[in-house]
Amino acid sequence: MTHELRGRDLSLGYGGDDVVSHLDVEVPDGRITMIVGANACGKSTLLRGMARLLRPSGGQVVLDGRSLQDMRSIDVAKLIGLLPQSPVAPDSITVADLVGRGRYPHQGWFRQWRSEDELAVQAALEATGTADLAGRPLAELSGGQRQRVWVAMALAQDTDLLLLDEPTTFLDINHQVELLDLLTDLNRERGTTIVIVLHDLNLACRYADHIIAMRRGVILAEGSPREVIDASVVTAVFGLDCEVILDPLTGAPMVLPRGRHHICGGGWRREPPADPQSVRGCPGLRLG
Protein backbone atom coordinates (compact mmCIF):
# COMPACT_ATOMS: atom_id res chain seq x y z
CA MET A 1 0.00 0.00 0.00
CA THR A 2 1.68 3.20 -1.10
CA HIS A 3 1.07 6.49 0.57
CA GLU A 4 1.90 10.04 -0.22
CA LEU A 5 2.62 12.25 2.78
CA ARG A 6 3.67 15.80 2.09
CA GLY A 7 3.58 19.28 3.58
CA ARG A 8 2.41 22.07 1.29
CA ASP A 9 3.43 25.61 2.14
CA LEU A 10 3.34 24.33 5.71
CA SER A 11 3.68 26.69 8.69
CA LEU A 12 3.69 25.36 12.24
CA GLY A 13 4.05 27.04 15.62
CA TYR A 14 2.91 27.03 19.23
CA GLY A 15 0.80 30.17 19.33
CA GLY A 16 3.63 32.68 18.97
CA ASP A 17 5.92 33.00 15.96
CA ASP A 18 5.98 30.12 13.51
CA VAL A 19 8.72 27.60 14.19
CA VAL A 20 8.40 26.21 10.70
CA SER A 21 7.25 28.53 7.94
CA HIS A 22 6.16 27.95 4.35
CA LEU A 23 7.76 24.54 4.08
CA ASP A 24 7.27 22.18 1.16
CA VAL A 25 8.32 18.69 2.05
CA GLU A 26 7.61 15.20 0.83
CA VAL A 27 8.24 11.91 2.62
CA PRO A 28 9.50 9.26 0.17
CA ASP A 29 7.18 6.26 0.28
CA GLY A 30 8.55 3.00 1.63
CA ARG A 31 11.86 4.55 2.68
CA ILE A 32 13.58 5.63 5.87
CA THR A 33 13.76 9.39 6.18
CA MET A 34 15.82 11.09 8.86
CA ILE A 35 15.29 14.72 9.85
CA VAL A 36 18.43 16.30 11.31
CA GLY A 37 19.31 19.76 12.53
CA ALA A 38 20.47 21.74 15.54
CA ASN A 39 18.31 22.08 18.65
CA ALA A 40 15.20 24.20 18.10
CA CYS A 41 15.49 24.07 14.30
CA GLY A 42 11.89 22.89 14.03
CA LYS A 43 12.54 19.24 13.24
CA SER A 44 10.34 17.86 16.03
CA THR A 45 7.72 20.48 15.23
CA LEU A 46 7.67 19.33 11.63
CA LEU A 47 7.27 15.72 12.74
CA ARG A 48 4.43 16.64 15.11
CA GLY A 49 2.76 18.59 12.32
CA MET A 50 2.97 15.64 9.96
CA ALA A 51 1.41 13.37 12.60
CA ARG A 52 -1.49 15.84 13.14
CA LEU A 53 -0.40 16.60 16.70
CA LEU A 54 -0.23 20.27 15.74
CA ARG A 55 -2.74 22.19 13.68
CA PRO A 56 -0.86 24.08 10.94
CA SER A 57 -0.95 27.86 11.25
CA GLY A 58 -0.67 27.97 7.48
CA GLY A 59 -0.64 25.56 4.54
CA GLN A 60 -1.51 21.92 5.04
CA VAL A 61 -0.26 18.38 5.48
CA VAL A 62 -1.62 16.16 2.75
CA LEU A 63 -1.96 12.39 3.03
CA ASP A 64 -2.96 10.60 -0.17
CA GLY A 65 -4.43 13.78 -1.58
CA ARG A 66 -6.49 14.69 1.50
CA SER A 67 -5.66 17.34 4.05
CA LEU A 68 -4.99 15.73 7.45
CA GLN A 69 -7.16 18.35 9.14
CA ASP A 70 -10.16 17.17 7.12
CA MET A 71 -9.71 13.56 8.22
CA ARG A 72 -11.09 12.01 11.41
CA SER A 73 -8.48 11.49 14.14
CA ILE A 74 -9.14 7.79 14.15
CA ASP A 75 -8.64 7.44 10.39
CA VAL A 76 -5.31 9.28 10.60
CA ALA A 77 -4.28 6.98 13.45
CA LYS A 78 -4.93 3.92 11.28
CA LEU A 79 -2.36 5.18 8.76
CA ILE A 80 0.20 7.20 10.73
CA GLY A 81 1.77 6.04 14.00
CA LEU A 82 3.92 8.29 16.14
CA LEU A 83 6.26 7.64 19.02
CA PRO A 84 6.75 10.90 20.93
CA GLN A 85 10.04 11.98 22.43
CA SER A 86 9.39 11.06 26.04
CA PRO A 87 6.26 8.97 26.28
CA VAL A 88 4.68 8.47 29.71
CA ALA A 89 2.86 5.48 31.16
CA PRO A 90 1.07 4.73 34.43
CA ASP A 91 3.30 3.17 37.11
CA SER A 92 2.09 -0.39 37.24
CA ILE A 93 1.27 -0.96 33.56
CA THR A 94 2.44 -4.27 32.08
CA VAL A 95 4.10 -4.66 28.71
CA ALA A 96 1.15 -6.56 27.22
CA ASP A 97 -1.29 -3.92 28.46
CA LEU A 98 0.75 -1.03 27.05
CA VAL A 99 1.27 -2.67 23.66
CA GLY A 100 -2.45 -3.53 23.60
CA ARG A 101 -3.30 0.16 23.90
CA GLY A 102 -1.76 0.61 20.46
CA ARG A 103 -4.91 -1.06 19.13
CA TYR A 104 -7.07 1.92 20.14
CA PRO A 105 -7.78 3.23 16.61
CA HIS A 106 -8.92 -0.22 15.47
CA GLN A 107 -11.49 -0.63 18.21
CA GLY A 108 -14.94 0.81 18.64
CA TRP A 109 -16.96 1.92 21.66
CA PHE A 110 -18.63 -1.45 22.02
CA ARG A 111 -16.64 -3.85 19.80
CA GLN A 112 -13.65 -3.84 22.05
CA TRP A 113 -11.11 -6.65 21.77
CA ARG A 114 -10.93 -9.12 18.88
CA SER A 115 -8.62 -11.88 17.77
CA GLU A 116 -6.99 -9.63 15.15
CA ASP A 117 -6.02 -7.27 17.98
CA GLU A 118 -4.47 -10.23 19.76
CA LEU A 119 -2.52 -11.21 16.64
CA ALA A 120 -1.27 -7.67 16.04
CA VAL A 121 -0.05 -7.37 19.63
CA GLN A 122 1.71 -10.72 19.54
CA ALA A 123 3.35 -9.89 16.20
CA ALA A 124 4.52 -6.50 17.51
CA LEU A 125 6.00 -8.11 20.62
CA GLU A 126 7.81 -10.72 18.56
CA ALA A 127 9.13 -8.24 16.01
CA THR A 128 10.67 -6.16 18.78
CA GLY A 129 11.98 -9.14 20.74
CA THR A 130 9.84 -8.27 23.76
CA ALA A 131 7.44 -11.23 23.69
CA ASP A 132 9.02 -12.79 26.76
CA LEU A 133 8.50 -9.55 28.69
CA ALA A 134 4.72 -9.53 28.10
CA GLY A 135 3.75 -10.03 31.73
CA ARG A 136 6.37 -7.72 33.24
CA PRO A 137 5.63 -4.20 34.54
CA LEU A 138 7.13 -1.55 32.27
CA ALA A 139 8.78 0.18 35.25
CA GLU A 140 11.03 -2.84 35.89
CA LEU A 141 12.61 -2.85 32.43
CA SER A 142 15.88 -1.32 31.31
CA GLY A 143 15.90 1.78 29.10
CA GLY A 144 16.62 -0.23 25.96
CA GLN A 145 13.88 -2.76 26.66
CA ARG A 146 11.42 -0.01 27.49
CA GLN A 147 12.08 1.78 24.22
CA ARG A 148 11.55 -1.45 22.30
CA VAL A 149 8.23 -1.90 24.10
CA TRP A 150 7.15 1.60 23.05
CA VAL A 151 8.10 0.75 19.47
CA ALA A 152 6.03 -2.42 19.87
CA MET A 153 3.05 -0.29 20.91
CA ALA A 154 3.46 1.83 17.79
CA LEU A 155 3.76 -1.37 15.71
CA ALA A 156 0.59 -2.81 17.21
CA GLN A 157 -1.15 0.26 15.83
CA ASP A 158 -0.37 -1.37 12.48
CA THR A 159 0.17 1.77 10.39
CA ASP A 160 1.89 2.07 7.02
CA LEU A 161 3.73 5.18 8.18
CA LEU A 162 5.67 5.38 11.43
CA LEU A 163 7.08 8.62 12.81
CA LEU A 164 9.57 8.64 15.69
CA ASP A 165 10.82 11.66 17.62
CA GLU A 166 14.39 11.06 18.81
CA PRO A 167 13.81 7.40 19.69
CA THR A 168 17.44 6.79 20.66
CA THR A 169 17.74 9.50 23.31
CA PHE A 170 18.86 8.05 26.66
CA LEU A 171 19.98 4.81 25.03
CA ASP A 172 23.59 3.66 25.06
CA ILE A 173 25.33 3.20 21.71
CA ASN A 174 24.60 -0.51 21.54
CA HIS A 175 20.88 -0.03 22.09
CA GLN A 176 20.82 2.88 19.64
CA VAL A 177 22.17 0.64 16.90
CA GLU A 178 19.86 -2.20 17.94
CA LEU A 179 16.81 0.05 17.71
CA LEU A 180 17.77 1.50 14.33
CA ASP A 181 18.42 -2.03 13.05
CA LEU A 182 14.97 -3.02 14.25
CA LEU A 183 13.36 -0.07 12.45
CA THR A 184 15.31 -0.94 9.31
CA ASP A 185 14.00 -4.53 9.53
CA LEU A 186 10.49 -3.17 9.71
CA ASN A 187 11.04 -0.99 6.72
CA ARG A 188 12.53 -3.81 4.67
CA GLU A 189 10.03 -6.51 5.75
CA ARG A 190 6.75 -4.68 5.96
CA GLY A 191 7.55 -1.75 3.68
CA THR A 192 6.68 0.66 6.48
CA THR A 193 7.56 4.24 5.62
CA ILE A 194 9.64 5.52 8.52
CA VAL A 195 10.45 9.10 9.48
CA ILE A 196 12.85 9.65 12.36
CA VAL A 197 14.06 12.83 14.01
CA LEU A 198 17.57 11.95 15.11
CA HIS A 199 20.26 13.83 16.99
CA ASP A 200 23.19 11.66 16.01
CA LEU A 201 24.21 12.78 12.54
CA ASN A 202 26.49 9.81 11.90
CA LEU A 203 23.81 7.26 12.72
CA ALA A 204 21.35 9.28 10.63
CA CYS A 205 23.71 9.14 7.65
CA ARG A 206 24.16 5.43 8.09
CA TYR A 207 20.52 4.42 8.44
CA ALA A 208 18.73 6.98 6.27
CA ASP A 209 17.65 6.41 2.69
CA HIS A 210 16.68 10.06 2.59
CA ILE A 211 17.92 12.83 4.82
CA ILE A 212 16.33 16.22 5.50
CA ALA A 213 18.63 18.83 7.03
CA MET A 214 16.87 21.76 8.70
CA ARG A 215 17.93 25.06 10.13
CA ARG A 216 15.63 27.72 11.62
CA GLY A 217 12.48 26.18 10.25
CA VAL A 218 13.61 25.76 6.65
CA ILE A 219 15.08 22.82 4.79
CA LEU A 220 18.69 23.49 3.81
CA ALA A 221 19.35 20.24 2.02
CA GLU A 222 17.61 16.95 1.31
CA GLY A 223 18.43 13.80 -0.58
CA SER A 224 20.38 10.63 0.00
CA PRO A 225 23.05 11.01 2.70
CA ARG A 226 25.91 10.55 0.24
CA GLU A 227 24.59 13.29 -2.02
CA VAL A 228 23.67 15.69 0.70
CA ILE A 229 26.06 15.52 3.61
CA ASP A 230 29.35 17.28 3.14
CA ALA A 231 31.36 19.61 5.32
CA SER A 232 29.76 22.77 3.97
CA VAL A 233 26.23 21.47 4.61
CA VAL A 234 27.07 20.35 8.13
CA THR A 235 28.65 23.72 8.81
CA ALA A 236 25.58 25.49 7.44
CA VAL A 237 23.15 23.29 9.41
CA PHE A 238 24.91 22.98 12.74
CA GLY A 239 27.44 25.83 12.57
CA LEU A 240 30.06 23.15 13.17
CA ASP A 241 33.52 23.27 11.69
CA CYS A 242 34.16 19.70 10.58
CA GLU A 243 35.44 17.20 8.07
CA VAL A 244 33.23 14.63 6.37
CA ILE A 245 34.76 11.28 5.46
CA LEU A 246 33.25 8.04 4.25
CA ASP A 247 32.70 5.49 6.97
CA PRO A 248 35.00 2.58 6.00
CA LEU A 249 32.45 0.09 7.33
CA THR A 250 29.35 1.24 5.46
CA GLY A 251 30.44 3.86 2.94
CA ALA A 252 28.06 6.37 4.50
CA PRO A 253 29.27 9.91 5.17
CA MET A 254 30.70 10.39 8.61
CA VAL A 255 31.18 13.70 10.33
CA LEU A 256 34.35 14.45 12.27
CA PRO A 257 33.93 17.63 14.31
CA ARG A 258 37.00 19.83 14.40
CA GLY A 259 36.63 21.43 17.80
CA ARG A 260 39.46 23.49 19.21
CA HIS A 261 41.56 20.75 20.76
CA HIS A 262 43.29 17.50 19.85
CA ILE A 263 43.56 18.27 16.13
CA CYS A 264 46.71 17.02 14.47
CA GLY A 265 46.31 18.57 11.04
CA GLY A 266 45.31 17.12 7.70
CA GLY A 267 42.45 14.70 7.66
CA TRP A 268 40.39 12.85 5.11
CA ARG A 269 38.09 14.44 2.61
CA ARG A 270 35.43 12.13 1.21
CA GLU A 271 37.90 9.31 0.40
CA PRO A 272 40.17 7.44 2.80
CA PRO A 273 43.93 7.94 2.20
CA ALA A 274 45.83 5.45 0.07
CA ASP A 275 47.57 4.05 3.11
CA PRO A 276 44.81 3.80 5.71
CA GLN A 277 47.30 2.71 8.34
CA SER A 278 48.84 6.14 8.70
CA VAL A 279 47.13 9.45 9.26
CA ARG A 280 48.69 12.32 7.42
CA GLY A 281 50.27 14.92 9.66
CA CYS A 282 50.19 12.69 12.71
CA PRO A 283 53.36 10.66 12.76
CA GLY A 284 53.09 7.73 15.08
CA LEU A 285 49.26 7.79 15.07
CA ARG A 286 47.88 4.73 13.32
CA LEU A 287 44.39 3.51 12.69
CA GLY A 288 43.67 -0.07 13.36
Binding site: L83, P87, V95, Y104, A154
Partner: protein, 355 residues
Protein backbone atom coordinates in the same frame (compact mmCIF):
# COMPACT_ATOMS: atom_id res chain seq x y z
CA UNK B 1 24.92 -5.33 13.08
CA UNK B 2 24.12 -6.00 9.47
CA UNK B 3 20.99 -4.30 8.29
CA UNK B 4 19.91 -6.78 5.68
CA UNK B 5 19.42 -9.84 7.85
CA UNK B 6 16.41 -9.95 10.14
CA UNK B 7 17.12 -9.98 13.81
CA UNK B 8 15.01 -12.76 15.31
CA UNK B 9 13.62 -12.30 18.81
CA UNK B 10 16.47 -13.12 21.20
CA UNK B 11 14.59 -15.87 23.00
CA UNK B 12 11.40 -17.72 22.17
CA UNK B 13 8.74 -16.64 24.67
CA UNK B 14 8.32 -19.21 27.42
CA UNK B 15 4.94 -20.91 27.62
CA UNK B 16 2.44 -18.98 29.71
CA UNK B 17 3.80 -15.50 29.06
CA UNK B 18 2.16 -14.92 25.71
CA UNK B 19 0.43 -11.58 25.52
CA UNK B 20 -2.93 -13.29 25.12
CA UNK B 21 -2.42 -15.30 28.31
CA UNK B 22 -1.26 -12.25 30.20
CA UNK B 23 -4.31 -10.37 29.02
CA UNK B 24 -6.68 -13.19 29.87
CA UNK B 25 -5.21 -13.53 33.36
CA UNK B 26 -5.57 -9.78 33.87
CA UNK B 27 -9.17 -9.79 32.68
CA UNK B 28 -10.01 -12.66 35.02
CA UNK B 29 -8.38 -10.94 37.97
CA UNK B 30 -10.12 -7.66 37.16
CA UNK B 31 -13.50 -9.34 36.92
CA UNK B 32 -12.92 -11.30 40.12
CA UNK B 33 -11.81 -8.30 42.18
CA UNK B 34 -14.56 -6.03 40.83
CA UNK B 35 -17.25 -8.64 41.49
CA UNK B 36 -15.83 -9.23 44.96
CA UNK B 37 -15.90 -5.52 45.74
CA UNK B 38 -19.46 -5.24 44.43
CA UNK B 39 -20.54 -8.09 46.71
CA UNK B 40 -18.73 -6.47 49.63
CA UNK B 41 -20.63 -3.22 49.04
CA UNK B 42 -23.93 -5.14 48.90
CA UNK B 43 -23.10 -7.03 52.08
CA UNK B 44 -22.32 -3.76 53.83
CA UNK B 45 -25.60 -2.35 52.53
CA UNK B 46 -27.51 -5.19 54.17
CA UNK B 47 -25.39 -4.96 57.32
CA UNK B 48 -26.17 -1.23 57.64
CA UNK B 49 -29.85 -2.10 57.63
CA UNK B 50 -29.43 -4.87 60.24
CA UNK B 51 -27.65 -2.85 62.87
CA UNK B 52 -29.31 -0.23 65.04
CA UNK B 53 -31.34 0.20 68.23
CA UNK B 54 -33.51 -2.66 66.97
CA UNK B 55 -31.34 -5.48 65.54
CA UNK B 56 -32.51 -7.53 62.57
CA UNK B 57 -31.22 -10.70 60.89
CA UNK B 58 -30.01 -10.54 57.27
CA UNK B 59 -32.99 -12.67 56.25
CA UNK B 60 -35.44 -10.26 57.81
CA UNK B 61 -33.80 -7.40 55.93
CA UNK B 62 -33.71 -9.21 52.58
CA UNK B 63 -37.27 -10.49 53.00
CA UNK B 64 -38.53 -7.02 53.75
CA UNK B 65 -36.65 -5.55 50.76
CA UNK B 66 -38.19 -8.22 48.54
CA UNK B 67 -41.65 -7.37 49.91
CA UNK B 68 -41.92 -10.86 51.38
CA UNK B 69 -41.99 -9.85 55.05
CA UNK B 70 -45.19 -10.38 57.07
CA UNK B 71 -44.17 -8.01 59.86
CA UNK B 72 -45.18 -4.34 59.35
CA UNK B 73 -42.79 -3.19 62.10
CA UNK B 74 -39.82 -4.74 60.26
CA UNK B 75 -41.03 -3.24 57.01
CA UNK B 76 -41.23 0.17 58.62
CA UNK B 77 -37.72 -0.07 60.08
CA UNK B 78 -36.09 -1.51 56.94
CA UNK B 79 -37.90 0.18 54.09
CA UNK B 80 -39.06 3.30 55.89
CA UNK B 81 -36.09 4.23 58.07
CA UNK B 82 -32.92 2.41 57.13
CA UNK B 83 -33.15 1.81 53.38
CA UNK B 84 -33.04 5.52 52.41
CA UNK B 85 -29.89 6.05 54.51
CA UNK B 86 -28.21 2.87 53.31
CA UNK B 87 -29.09 3.54 49.67
CA UNK B 88 -27.70 7.07 49.99
CA UNK B 89 -24.46 5.63 51.38
CA UNK B 90 -24.20 3.16 48.52
CA UNK B 91 -25.01 5.66 45.76
CA UNK B 92 -22.93 8.52 47.15
CA UNK B 93 -20.00 6.15 47.78
CA UNK B 94 -20.06 4.87 44.20
CA UNK B 95 -20.30 8.42 42.85
CA UNK B 96 -17.41 9.63 45.02
CA UNK B 97 -15.20 6.65 44.20
CA UNK B 98 -15.78 6.81 40.45
CA UNK B 99 -15.33 10.57 40.39
CA UNK B 100 -12.08 10.49 42.37
CA UNK B 101 -10.61 7.65 40.31
CA UNK B 102 -11.32 9.47 37.04
CA UNK B 103 -9.76 12.71 38.34
CA UNK B 104 -6.62 10.94 39.52
CA UNK B 105 -6.10 8.99 36.33
CA UNK B 106 -6.88 11.95 34.13
CA UNK B 107 -4.50 14.30 35.90
CA UNK B 108 -2.02 11.51 36.64
CA UNK B 109 -1.77 12.51 40.27
CA UNK B 110 -2.99 10.73 43.42
CA UNK B 111 -3.72 14.10 45.04
CA UNK B 112 -6.05 15.19 42.26
CA UNK B 113 -9.10 14.43 44.30
CA UNK B 114 -12.22 16.56 43.89
CA UNK B 115 -11.88 17.19 47.66
CA UNK B 116 -8.91 19.40 47.03
CA UNK B 117 -9.38 20.93 43.63
CA UNK B 118 -12.27 23.21 44.39
CA UNK B 119 -15.34 21.12 43.61
CA UNK B 120 -16.30 20.24 47.18
CA UNK B 121 -15.43 23.71 48.47
CA UNK B 122 -17.63 25.30 45.81
CA UNK B 123 -20.50 23.12 47.01
CA UNK B 124 -19.72 24.04 50.62
CA UNK B 125 -19.70 27.77 49.95
CA UNK B 126 -23.03 27.67 48.15
CA UNK B 127 -24.64 25.44 50.78
CA UNK B 128 -23.41 27.48 53.74
CA UNK B 129 -24.47 30.72 52.07
CA UNK B 130 -27.95 29.34 51.48
CA UNK B 131 -28.22 28.12 55.09
CA UNK B 132 -26.97 31.29 56.73
CA UNK B 133 -28.04 34.05 54.37
CA UNK B 134 -31.27 32.67 52.98
CA UNK B 135 -32.40 30.21 55.65
CA UNK B 136 -33.09 27.74 52.88
CA UNK B 137 -34.90 24.41 53.05
CA UNK B 138 -33.03 21.12 52.81
CA UNK B 139 -33.82 20.68 49.10
CA UNK B 140 -32.77 24.27 48.36
CA UNK B 141 -29.49 23.70 50.23
CA UNK B 142 -28.73 20.66 48.09
CA UNK B 143 -29.70 22.52 44.95
CA UNK B 144 -27.33 25.36 45.70
CA UNK B 145 -24.55 22.93 46.64
CA UNK B 146 -25.01 21.28 43.25
CA UNK B 147 -24.81 24.61 41.46
CA UNK B 148 -21.85 25.71 43.60
CA UNK B 149 -19.88 22.58 42.70
CA UNK B 150 -20.56 22.98 38.99
CA UNK B 151 -19.73 26.70 38.97
CA UNK B 152 -16.51 26.24 40.88
CA UNK B 153 -15.40 23.33 38.66
CA UNK B 154 -16.05 25.47 35.58
CA UNK B 155 -14.10 28.31 37.14
CA UNK B 156 -11.10 26.05 37.82
CA UNK B 157 -11.27 24.60 34.30
CA UNK B 158 -11.39 28.04 32.67
CA UNK B 159 -8.60 29.47 34.84
CA UNK B 160 -6.37 26.44 34.29
CA UNK B 161 -6.99 26.21 30.55
CA UNK B 162 -4.21 27.62 28.47
CA UNK B 163 -4.40 26.24 24.94
CA UNK B 164 -4.74 22.84 26.58
CA UNK B 165 -5.05 21.47 30.07
CA UNK B 166 -2.03 20.56 32.17
CA UNK B 167 -2.79 18.35 35.15
CA UNK B 168 -0.36 20.19 37.35
CA UNK B 169 -1.89 23.58 36.57
CA UNK B 170 -5.37 22.24 37.15
CA UNK B 171 -4.43 21.02 40.62
CA UNK B 172 -2.66 24.22 41.62
CA UNK B 173 -5.46 26.46 40.37
CA UNK B 174 -7.94 24.10 42.05
CA UNK B 175 -6.18 24.36 45.40
CA UNK B 176 -6.12 28.16 45.07
CA UNK B 177 -9.81 28.39 44.24
CA UNK B 178 -10.57 25.92 46.99
CA UNK B 179 -8.75 28.01 49.60
CA UNK B 180 -10.56 31.13 48.45
CA UNK B 181 -13.95 29.46 48.81
CA UNK B 182 -13.14 27.96 52.19
CA UNK B 183 -12.07 31.35 53.53
CA UNK B 184 -15.42 32.75 52.37
CA UNK B 185 -17.14 29.84 54.13
CA UNK B 186 -15.26 30.78 57.31
CA UNK B 187 -16.32 34.40 56.95
CA UNK B 188 -19.99 33.52 56.50
CA UNK B 189 -20.02 31.08 59.40
CA UNK B 190 -18.28 33.61 61.66
CA UNK B 191 -21.00 36.18 60.97
CA UNK B 192 -23.88 33.74 61.36
CA UNK B 193 -26.27 33.36 64.29
CA UNK B 194 -25.48 30.43 66.57
CA UNK B 195 -28.28 28.16 65.36
CA UNK B 196 -27.47 28.69 61.69
CA UNK B 197 -23.75 28.37 62.31
CA UNK B 198 -24.35 24.96 63.95
CA UNK B 199 -26.52 23.88 61.05
CA UNK B 200 -23.83 25.01 58.60
CA UNK B 201 -21.05 23.21 60.48
CA UNK B 202 -23.08 19.99 60.55
CA UNK B 203 -23.60 20.23 56.81
CA UNK B 204 -19.88 20.91 56.30
CA UNK B 205 -18.82 17.71 58.05
CA UNK B 206 -21.14 15.74 55.83
CA UNK B 207 -23.37 12.84 56.77
CA UNK B 208 -25.11 10.08 54.91
CA UNK B 209 -28.19 10.53 57.08
CA UNK B 210 -28.86 14.11 56.05
CA UNK B 211 -30.13 13.34 52.54
CA UNK B 212 -33.87 13.61 51.99
CA UNK B 213 -35.76 11.52 49.43
CA UNK B 214 -35.44 14.30 46.80
CA UNK B 215 -31.65 14.33 47.07
CA UNK B 216 -31.48 10.53 47.05
CA UNK B 217 -33.53 10.23 43.87
CA UNK B 218 -31.56 12.96 42.13
CA UNK B 219 -28.35 11.15 43.01
CA UNK B 220 -29.67 7.79 41.82
CA UNK B 221 -30.80 9.24 38.50
CA UNK B 222 -27.40 10.93 38.01
CA UNK B 223 -25.68 7.64 38.79
CA UNK B 224 -27.86 5.56 36.48
CA UNK B 225 -27.16 7.97 33.62
CA UNK B 226 -23.49 8.72 34.25
CA UNK B 227 -22.05 5.44 35.52
CA UNK B 228 -22.39 3.71 32.12
CA UNK B 229 -20.92 6.81 30.48
CA UNK B 230 -17.97 6.72 32.90
CA UNK B 231 -17.37 3.03 32.14
CA UNK B 232 -17.49 3.69 28.38
CA UNK B 233 -15.11 6.63 28.74
CA UNK B 234 -12.60 4.40 30.48
CA UNK B 235 -11.31 3.36 27.04
CA UNK B 236 -10.22 6.86 25.94
CA UNK B 237 -9.06 7.41 29.53
CA UNK B 238 -6.62 4.51 29.14
CA UNK B 239 -5.25 6.24 26.08
CA UNK B 240 -5.13 9.70 27.73
CA UNK B 241 -3.06 8.15 30.52
CA UNK B 242 -0.20 7.78 28.04
CA UNK B 243 0.14 11.55 27.65
CA UNK B 244 -1.45 13.93 25.16
CA UNK B 245 0.96 13.22 22.29
CA UNK B 246 0.60 9.45 22.40
CA UNK B 247 -3.14 9.74 22.91
CA UNK B 248 -3.46 11.99 19.86
CA UNK B 249 -1.25 9.71 17.79
CA UNK B 250 -3.58 6.84 18.73
CA UNK B 251 -6.52 8.81 17.37
CA UNK B 252 -8.05 9.93 20.68
CA UNK B 253 -9.85 13.26 20.51
CA UNK B 254 -7.93 14.52 23.50
CA UNK B 255 -9.70 17.77 24.41
CA UNK B 256 -13.18 16.39 23.81
CA UNK B 257 -12.67 13.21 25.81
CA UNK B 258 -10.92 15.01 28.63
CA UNK B 259 -13.74 17.52 28.88
CA UNK B 260 -16.29 14.68 28.88
CA UNK B 261 -14.40 12.84 31.62
CA UNK B 262 -14.08 15.96 33.77
CA UNK B 263 -17.76 16.72 33.24
CA UNK B 264 -18.89 13.21 34.26
CA UNK B 265 -16.64 13.27 37.27
CA UNK B 266 -17.71 16.76 38.39
CA UNK B 267 -21.42 16.10 37.97
CA UNK B 268 -21.17 12.84 39.95
CA UNK B 269 -19.31 14.50 42.82
CA UNK B 270 -21.68 17.46 42.71
CA UNK B 271 -24.77 15.24 43.15
CA UNK B 272 -23.06 13.19 45.85
CA UNK B 273 -21.99 16.31 47.74
CA UNK B 274 -25.44 17.84 47.38
CA UNK B 275 -26.91 14.72 49.00
CA UNK B 276 -24.48 13.95 51.83
CA UNK B 277 -22.34 17.07 52.17
CA UNK B 278 -18.61 17.29 51.54
CA UNK B 279 -17.65 13.93 53.07
CA UNK B 280 -13.88 14.00 53.00
CA UNK B 281 -11.35 11.51 51.72
CA UNK B 282 -13.65 8.87 50.17
CA UNK B 283 -12.96 10.18 46.66
CA UNK B 284 -9.26 10.50 47.45
CA UNK B 285 -8.78 7.01 48.87
CA UNK B 286 -11.06 4.89 46.68
CA UNK B 287 -9.00 5.07 43.48
CA UNK B 288 -5.58 4.13 44.91
CA UNK B 289 -7.15 1.40 47.10
CA UNK B 290 -8.89 -0.13 44.09
CA UNK B 291 -5.69 0.03 42.08
CA UNK B 292 -3.80 -1.75 44.84
CA UNK B 293 -6.42 -4.49 44.96
CA UNK B 294 -6.56 -4.86 41.18
CA UNK B 295 -2.82 -4.81 40.59
CA UNK B 296 -2.17 -4.35 36.91
CA UNK B 297 -5.71 -5.41 36.00
CA UNK B 298 -8.01 -3.02 34.19
CA UNK B 299 -11.63 -2.04 34.83
CA UNK B 300 -10.50 0.42 37.43
CA UNK B 301 -13.36 2.92 37.51
CA UNK B 302 -16.16 0.57 38.55
CA UNK B 303 -13.96 -1.11 41.16
CA UNK B 304 -13.13 2.31 42.61
CA UNK B 305 -16.86 3.02 42.81
CA UNK B 306 -17.45 -0.15 44.83
CA UNK B 307 -14.50 0.67 47.11
CA UNK B 308 -15.99 4.15 47.63
CA UNK B 309 -19.36 2.63 48.50
CA UNK B 310 -17.80 0.13 50.92
CA UNK B 311 -15.80 2.90 52.58
CA UNK B 312 -18.76 5.22 52.97
CA UNK B 313 -21.12 2.48 54.20
CA UNK B 314 -18.65 1.14 56.74
CA UNK B 315 -17.78 4.68 57.92
CA UNK B 316 -21.46 5.38 58.42
CA UNK B 317 -21.91 2.09 60.20
CA UNK B 318 -19.19 3.11 62.66
CA UNK B 319 -20.39 6.71 62.95
CA UNK B 320 -23.98 5.70 63.63
CA UNK B 321 -23.40 2.81 66.03
CA UNK B 322 -19.98 2.82 67.67
CA UNK B 323 -20.57 5.81 69.92
CA UNK B 324 -23.12 6.66 72.57
CA UNK B 325 -24.72 9.18 70.21
CA UNK B 326 -24.54 9.01 66.40
CA UNK B 327 -21.83 11.09 64.73
CA UNK B 328 -21.77 12.59 61.23
CA UNK B 329 -20.16 10.20 58.70
CA UNK B 330 -17.61 12.82 57.68
CA UNK B 331 -15.93 12.65 61.09
CA UNK B 332 -15.11 8.97 60.65
CA UNK B 333 -13.92 9.27 57.04
CA UNK B 334 -11.79 12.23 58.13
CA UNK B 335 -10.26 10.26 61.01
CA UNK B 336 -9.36 7.41 58.65
CA UNK B 337 -8.51 9.55 55.63
CA UNK B 338 -6.19 12.11 57.20
CA UNK B 339 -3.49 9.60 58.19
CA UNK B 340 -3.78 8.10 54.72
CA UNK B 341 -3.21 11.51 53.18
CA UNK B 342 -0.09 12.03 55.30
CA UNK B 343 1.20 8.61 54.26
CA UNK B 344 0.48 9.43 50.62
CA UNK B 345 2.38 12.72 50.83
CA UNK B 346 5.35 11.13 52.55
CA UNK B 347 5.69 8.25 50.10
CA UNK B 348 4.84 10.39 47.06
CA UNK B 349 7.63 12.80 47.87
CA UNK B 350 10.07 9.99 48.33
CA UNK B 351 9.36 8.79 44.81
CA UNK B 352 9.40 12.31 43.44
CA UNK B 353 5.85 11.87 42.23
CA UNK B 354 2.61 13.51 43.06
CA UNK B 355 3.97 17.02 43.22
Amino acid sequence: MSTQTLSPPPQAPPVGTRAADVRRARRRLGLLVTTGLGLLALALLVLTMMVGSYGLTPWEVVASLAHQSQDPATDFIVRGLRLPVAATGLAAGIALGVSGAIFQKLLNNPLASPDFVGVSSGASLAAVASIVLFNASSVAISGSALIGALVSATLVYVLAFRGGLSGYRFILVGIGVSELMLSLVGYIVARAELFEARQAMTWLVGSVGQAGPGQLWALIVALVVLLPVAILLERPLRSLELGDDTARALGTRVELHRLALIAVSVVLIAFATAAVGPVLFVALVAGPLARRLLGPAGGHVLAAGFVGASLLLSSDLIAANAFSSPLPTGLVTGAVGAPYLVWLLVTANRQGLGG
